[in-house]
């Protein structure tokens, strides 16, 4: 059961082979057994989960079950959940209990899914290794001395270690796709505006987008059917007709044009990563797809653009954490400003403070034009690269990350090296485009490699279809870390 996909579990529940309570207990026990070492979850409330499972079982008895009714799902601790704390991986919110549910949580509740727990993450989603969490790093199930990727590292590790059949994440510069790649699971970042940001604690508002992590592309499609949809409380939520994300799962690959950007197959990418990604591309070629050589000439500027825009927005988004209405407040202070300064110095970790300071600087008087405005202009150049590319191809493929999982602590002393690791995942959110990552093999050390598939705006179903065809012919996505090493 632990190795089953959501699709299989849904069928098993429907066939009454197992109840939601049994299934939920199975995963709760698994979490209990593994979380001490992996640290994938920040908060688990067994009673609450089991109560929800009981409701789901009743709903099924009443004949009102949907595809996700009774399925346990882990949620990144960035989604506000009523009745169970939401920390965003920060000391600032270590005891914060949201009085409301995020839109995504409402959607899963409405579908009858069971909230399995809140997963660990980089503090305020700022990080690519899950090492910035106030609650300690998450360990990669494939090698406990390595990082799972970030910022949705807890979600990726939980799915990889079979602690949850599926999880939610958020992606600002790669925070779903990169941990999916490094932890050997599938993850999708949808088009900006498809999943409501209401109740998703903001990092960089013009980039943040929620999405699912699971074993397979077919599972991602099922989860998207629940997560996506218009929400009037988010002004950037798109008013579009509801989509069935499973509709293209069985589409043929015949004639599909796959763009291969030369910048994604260049120096600086691990040889094993290049080899595995190229093998996957060849599989697609062998099954009817055509490859097209393309160029995304401004790829190299994506990381600098991102490190202006994301910190700028973050510096403002995180101003609300001031120790007045909720969250941490310093114990000792001399006056109001001292209270603010100490509260924020104590409540935020080093990386968050660094980004707030950078953001404050690039927005400050005399620097706004040179940094922020310039970054927004270059952002358009990057988006234009994609517009031109998608005139020539249907999907773009390449590595999700230039390397496989790196060792804990390997990059913590060099923030720029850490940032550059996100070079292939940062461009899509800058352009607002969807991207997904699926496992496509292992490097020599036995660490998973991720294949990134990017599509045009609203091409999620097509991307999931291509991924699903690949996963029907391969089993990389079903491989699990060895139990002995967990």
């Amino acid at each position: 059961m632990l190795n089953s996909t959501v699709t299989e579990l849904s069928d098993a529940l429907a066939a009454r082979k197992i109840s939601s309570v049994e299934l939920t207990r199975l995963f709760l026990d698994r979490i209990k057994g593994l979380n001490g070492r992996l640290n994938a979850f920040i908060t688990v409330d067994e009673e609450r989960s089991l109560a929800q499972a009981r409701v789901a079982d009743e709903r099924r008895s009443g004949g009102r079950a949907g595809r996700l009714t009774g399925i346990p799902v882990a949620h990144k601790d960035i989604f506000c959940t009523r009745g169970i704390r939401t920390t965003c991986g920060s000391k600032m919110l270590a005891t914060f209990k949201s009085p409301y549910d995020a839109h995504v949580i409402e959607r899963f509740n409405a579908a009858g899914a069971v909230l399995l727990g809140k997963t660990n993450m980089d503090e305020f989603a700022m990080g690519s290794s899950n090492e910035t969490s106030h609650f300690g790093p998450v360990r990669n199930p494939w090698d406990l001395d390595r990082v799972p990727g970030g910022s949705s590292g807890g979600s990726a590790a939980a799915v990889a270690a079979r602690m949850a059949p599926a999880a939610t994440g958020t992606d600002t510069g790669g925070s779903i796709r990169q941990p999916a790649a490094l932890s050997g699971v599938s993850g999708l970042k949808p088009t900006y505006g498809v999943v409501s940001r209401y109740g998703m604690i903001a990092f960089a508002s013009s980039l943040d987008q929620g999405g699912p992590l699971a074993k397979s592309a077919a599972d991602l499609a099922l989860l998207m059917n629940a997560m996506a949809g218009f929400d009037a409380r988010d002004s950037t939520s798109l008013e579009r007709p509801a989509e069935d994300y499973t509709r293209s799962l069985n589409d043929s690959l015949q004639g599909l044009r796959i763009g291969l950007p030369k910048e994604y197959f260049a120096d600086g990418v691990d040889a094993d990563v290049l080899a595995r990604v190229s093998e996957a591309v060849r599989w697609f070629e062998g099954h009817g797809a055509k490859t097209v050589a393309i160029t995304l000439p401004n790829t190299g500027l994506a990381v600098p653009v991102y490190y202006v825009i994301a910190p700028a927005e973050a510096s403002s988004n995180l101003s609300r954490f001031d120790g007045v209405r909720y969250g941490h407040r310093a114990k000792e202070y001399t006056d109001l400003n001292d209270m603010y300064r100490r509260t924020r110095a104590e409540g935020f970790g080093a990386e968050v403070k660094r980004r707030i300071l950078i953001g404050t600087y690039v927005l400050s008087h005399g620097y706004y034009d040179a940094y922020y405005l310039q970054a927004q202009k270059v952002r358009r150049l990057i988006a234009k690269d994609f517009t031109e590319a998608f005139a020539r191809c249907d999907l773009i493929m390449g590595p999700t990350s230039p390397s496989t999982a790196f060792a804990l602590g390997a990059k913590t002393d060099d923030p720029v090296q850490m940032y550059l690791n996100d070079i292939f995942t940062i461009p899509a959110p800058l352009a607002g485009l969807p991207g997904l990552s699926i496992p496509c093999g292992f490097d020599a050390k036995g660490l998973p490699v991720g294949l990134q598939i990017m599509g045009n705006y609203f091409a999620e179903a097509k991307m999931l279809g291509a991924a699903h065809r690949y996963q029907q012919a391969t089993d990389w996505h079903l491989r699990a870390p060895k139990e002995a090493q967990l």
């Binding site: 989604f79 506000c80 939401t86 965003c88 919110l93 914060f96 949201s98 009085p99 409301y100 995020a102 940001r197 209401y198 109740g199 998703m200 604690i201 903001a202 960089a204 508002s205 013009s206 009037a232 409380r233 988010d234 002004s235 950037t236 700028a312 927005e313 510096s315 403002s316 995180l318 101003s319 609300r320 954490f321 001031d322 007045v324 209405r325 909720y326 109001l336 400003n337 603010y340 404050t360 927005l363 400050s364 008087h365 706004y368 922020y372």
Partner: protein, 484 residues
Amino acid sequence: MAWEIVVGIETHAQLLTHSKIFSGASTAFGAEPNTQACAVDIALPGVLPVLNAQAVELAVRLGIAVGGKISRKSIFARKNYFYPDLPKGYQISQYEIPVVQGGSLKIVLPEGEKTIRLTRAHLEEDAGKSLHEDFQGMTGIDLNRAGTPLLEIVTEPDMRGAKEAVAYARALHSLVRWIGICDGNMQEGSFRCDANVSVRKVGSNELGTRCEIKNLNSFLFMEQAIVFEASRQIEVLESGGKIQQETRLFDTEIGETRAMRSKEDAQDYRYFPDPDLLPLVISEKEINRIGSELPEGPESVRKRFVDEYHFSMEMAFVLTLDRVRAEHFDAFWKQLLELTANVDPIARVQAANFAMMEIGAAMGRLGIAVEEILPDRLAVLIARVLDNTISHRIAKEVFSAMLAGEGAPDEIIEKRGLKQISDSGAIGKIVDEVLAANAKQVEDYRSGKEKAFNSLVGQVMKRSQGKANPAQVNEILRRKLKAT
């Protein structure tokens, strides 16, 4: 050497919406602290703003009323600063592109009308309130007001001195109520003005360094604050000092301005477009619809009252301070014109002036709402003065009876027998009686004491219960005094 005082005004007008500009919490005044501060208003993690349609509509209304340009596309920005009454750590406001650009407002001064140019009007959210009473040595924060929609209306530095500034503030105050976008309640803070004051030598074209004065919550304080601030600046400059550009607070207790401590840090608001909100787009069609629904504005009504009705500018100004009153008077006047087509226009305007005073007195003294005075009844009453059925004095009595609910004017005149006596025989009879009873006054008059005549007139009027036609009384009395 003479100094010239230069003033620009920034007004924050709370817009008359039911809910806040970016949330569904109530904007009603006076609720228990923080009971109208919802998740969005207190900036819980994860919440997002959605713009209130009515706030936009009201802003456009003002833009059209002042003849400004309505931006087809305007942008909301974040103004970043830390303050406990600002929950998000930034205020959502329009910075580079405001919803209204330009426009103007005419003010009425003793020497005539003057046009004050507006720079812009932009939408933004209000902050909460800091209550400085002692709570264990701390300040209390009430966020009920946080997120209330504001329209900030900014003028060019077009006012010269406190009187002009106050005239502008009054004109704007009257306009925002006129077009129904703000209740204008200054005590509750619905209409708040800040004044940018500077001084310069007469004849100079350059602006001096300005100080912004906050907390001007009445027209009186505004006048006092500007007068004080200008003389302070002149004193500084005349003693060789320099003016520091700063924000100052008007202390109403001592009538002085002082620098605000909380604004001491040089601010750097780090404005940038709010990524949670998209550009506000207003279509030509919407602008036309809102324009077509706007009532005639006070400037236009004032002009009509002066040009077509021949009211004095002063009278027109007083009548157009309030739309209900102006519309009421307009209705009354139109009715009166019909009833008194053949009357001398000057007499008619004089009678109208009388009516205006009486209405004003009734509203002031008795607290009567102008709507309670039916315009057509009032017109009949004044028509009766103009056709000599009653005198002004009797008209007052009838008016009081009308207010007391005794019915239509003709009914009251009839019932109370107030019809003016214009029958010379009847008046002559009363005059004879008065002359017979007041030999002393008759004697005095004849020995040249003109005062005695007035006393005799008074006696006649009294005996006629005020009903005798005063002109006829005069004439008959003189004739009889001469004859006997």
